[in-house]
């Protein structure tokens, strides 16, 4: 355009000046003009031709812009998307703007002669919004100045969509990792916890340098038969049940699952370790087992009582047949005794059941209950070498108790103590003593103690006494007695502990705090 205008001006000048100059001057002037125009055209063409061979094969939209950001050339791809737009400013074409875009890479290239790029959003002829990466490169003239700028625009819409989806997936995965209701960690070859989720951080002590064996088991060295090791070794998932220790020293039963994390070459670089808490499942499982055993134990006890009843009836009938009053009386005592055993068993079972609500009374003197139980059981052991002694603190105190329940609790403890003395295999003990104590401690709690010097509880059974249908042979206890003891103590806000040594005896201690 500039060239056309200047050529026209020179031609008009020459025509107007022609009458005033000799022909040779005009000839020289024309020659100079043509040489100048020729040189300029040659330079311009050469500049354009530097990108012309690859313009249409470039896998992007390509435009050449002048310093006013006008499009002076473009490739086929550009024209397919935006049409013939030469002479228009790029910002109008690409963005339908009235002014150059902020951070325009073309302007920056005109300013410093360097390559620049930026991410932009453009609107094509069909009105589709595209995400693009724009790269601008200078086209230098013979003097090394930026004569024009090539702008290459590559669509990254698909890439951008994929990237967004990837980011969303990553966020979802992160959220899932964090919020999933199990413990997840990533362990490296040095057993370091390199990543873990919220639940893991909540339950185990972890900082940036924690070892899994320390965090989960409070150990100083890796665990034997470590599943993480196995997965590192064979690259396979593994699973096993384990018991872990939390930061507050709770023991939890878990199923541990390990899975390999592989790099691009398939090498295991880390192991994902997942714990599923099955403590509750285990507890229920145990309870079911105990219940099964309890039912079996109960059936056995009931069978024995039934046999006692059957025997009693048989003896009564025989006595009647033989008109033997002494025998009738003996048989009847058997019936009564076994009816009493059934009655005690049923009462204990009711205490164990959840339906029962305690019947609390105010101003109950525990000494009275202890005296009743002492009197009851003293009669039962009067023919045996078992002394039942009572130790009561002075003065007696009063508290809020369910008197019948406390009576049951004491009967069970004393009954068990008597059985423990009767079944003592130690022949060197010619007599036994059972102490029945009641006093108040410094906190105002009522303490009930039953201590015997009988057979003691075998060590392997001492952790089961409150949960199992604990029963050696014996006729005084009902077999569910310690469950009753524990339930009654809990109903009163109290607790039961015991100490026992096989062969030396057992002492049960019930602590009942003052009613709040």
């Amino acid at each position: 355009m500039a060239y056309t205008a200047s050529a026209l001006a020179v031609t008009i000048g020459l025509v107007l000046a022609a009458p005033h100059f000799p022909p040779w001057v005009l000839g020289v002037a024309l020659a100079v003009y043509l040489a100048l125009v020729g040189t300029l055209l040659y330079r311009g063409q050469r500049r354009l031709f530097t990108y012309a061979p690859w313009r249409d094969v470039m896998p992007c939209l390509l435009t050449v812009q002048d310093a006013d950001l006008r499009i002076i050339d473009s490739n086929d791809r550009f024209r397919d998307s935006f049409g013939e737009r030469e002479g228009e400013q790029c910002y109008r074409v690409y963005k339908q703007r009235e002014s150059p875009c902020p951070e325009c890479p073309v302007i920056r290239t005109f300013g410093d002669g360097q390559v620049h790029s930026s991410e932009e959003t453009v609107i094509d002829m069909a009105g589709e919004v595209e995400n693009v990466v724009v790269t601008s490169a200078p086209l230098l003239d013979d003097e090394g100045k930026v004569g024009a700028v090539v702008e290459m625009t590559t669509s990254i819409t698909d890439l951008k969509t994929l990237q967004d989806e990837l980011e969303q997936t990553h966020r979802d995965y992160k959220r899932l990792f964090e919020q999933v209701p199990c413990h997840i960690s990533v362990i490296d070859r040095d057993y370091k916890v390199v990543e873990c989720n919220a639940m893991y951080r909540r339950d185990f002590n972890v900082d940036g340098n924690s070892f899994c064996y320390d965090a989960c088991k409070h150990r100083d060295s890796p665990c034997p038969k470590c599943l993480v090791d196995e997965t590192f070794l064979d690259g396979q998932p593994h699973a096993r049940e384990e018991t872990l220790t939390t930061r507050d020293r709770r023991h939890i039963d878990v199923v541990v699952n390990t899975m390999p994390v592989r790099d691009a070459n398939g090498e295991t670089t880390a192991v994902v370790e997942m714990f599923t808490d099955i403590t509750e499942v285990k507890r229920l499982q145990k309870q079911l087992t105990l219940m099964g055993r309890a039912v079996a134990g109960m059936a056995h006890r009931i069978k024995n009582i039934l046999m006692g009843l059957e025997g009693g009836i048989y003896v009564v009938n025989t006595g009647m047949e033989e008109d033997d009053r002494a025998q009738i009386s003996e048989g009847w005592e058997m019936v009564e005794r076994n009816v009493k055993r059934v009655s005690n068993l049923v009462k204990d079972l009711l205490y164990c059941s959840k339906e029962r609500t305690p019947d609390f009374h105010n101003e109950v003197c525990p000494h009275d209950i202890v005296r009743d139980v002492h009197e009851l059981y003293s009669k039962r052991v009067e023919d045996e070498a078992i002394a039942l002694v009572m130790e009561l603190s002075d003065p007696p105190h009063r508290c809020t108790f369910d008197p019948e329940a406390i009576h049951s609790l004491l009967c069970n403890l004393v009954g068990n103590a008597i059985d423990g003395c009767r079944f003592d295999p130690d022949e060197s003990k010619t007599t036994h003593e059972i102490a029945l104590r009641c006093y108040r401690d410094e906190r105002g709690s009522t303490i009930l103690e039953v201590e015997d010097d009988g057979v003691g509880i075998p060590e392997d059974m001492s952790d089961k006494v409150f949960e199992d249908f604990f029963s050696t042979k014996g006729t005084e206890g009902t077999g569910v007695g310690l469950l009753v003891v524990q339930k009654v103590a809990h109903e009163h806000g109290g607790s039961v502990t015991f100490r026992s040594k096989p062969g030396e005896g057992t002492a049960f201690k019930v602590i009942i705090p003052p009613a709040s």
């Binding site: 039934l306 046999m307 025997g311 009693g312 048989y314 058997m334 005794r337």
Partner: protein, 125 residues
């Protein structure tokens, strides 16, 4: 002369029941309430049959069984072991060593007629 039976059981109900059962069936009865007493009684009474409860105070039934089976005065007397345990292995599981097994193992609660039948068979009645 009536055959003699010794009942060794710590539970009075059981002693009275079995005693009545055997007496009514025509046998002469003695009873003992623990293993130690039972062993002594067996030596003097020389019964034709002993019924022995396996779980008892003082000496367990197992220990009494071992003594009865070892002492020359009692080793040939047939023994019926009464047990609350359902499996025979639970009784024999505890080390009986080379001792011969009981002549019969009867689970409590007993079936009256069946028990009497077993006793008669062992005594050859």
């Amino acid at each position: 002369m009536a055959a003699k039976i010794l009942i060794i059981d710590d539970e009075k109900d059981m002693r009275v029941y079995l005693g009545t059962l055997f007496r009514k069936a025509g046998y002469e009865i003695e009873s003992a309430e623990n293993g130690e007493e039972g062993f002594e009684r067996a030596k003097t009474f020389q019964p034709n049959l002993i019924t022995l409860d396996v779980m008892m105070p003082k000496k367990s039934g197992l220990k009494a069984y071992a003594e009865l089976r070892t002492a020359p005065e009692t080793k040939d007397i047939p023994v019926i072991v009464l047990t609350g345990l359902t499996k025979q292995e639970d009784f024999f599981g505890e080390n009986l060593g080379d001792l011969p097994r009981p002549d019969a193992l009867v689970e409590k609660p007993i079936d009256r007629d069946g028990f009497l039948e077993v006793a008669r068979r062992i005594m050859g009645d």
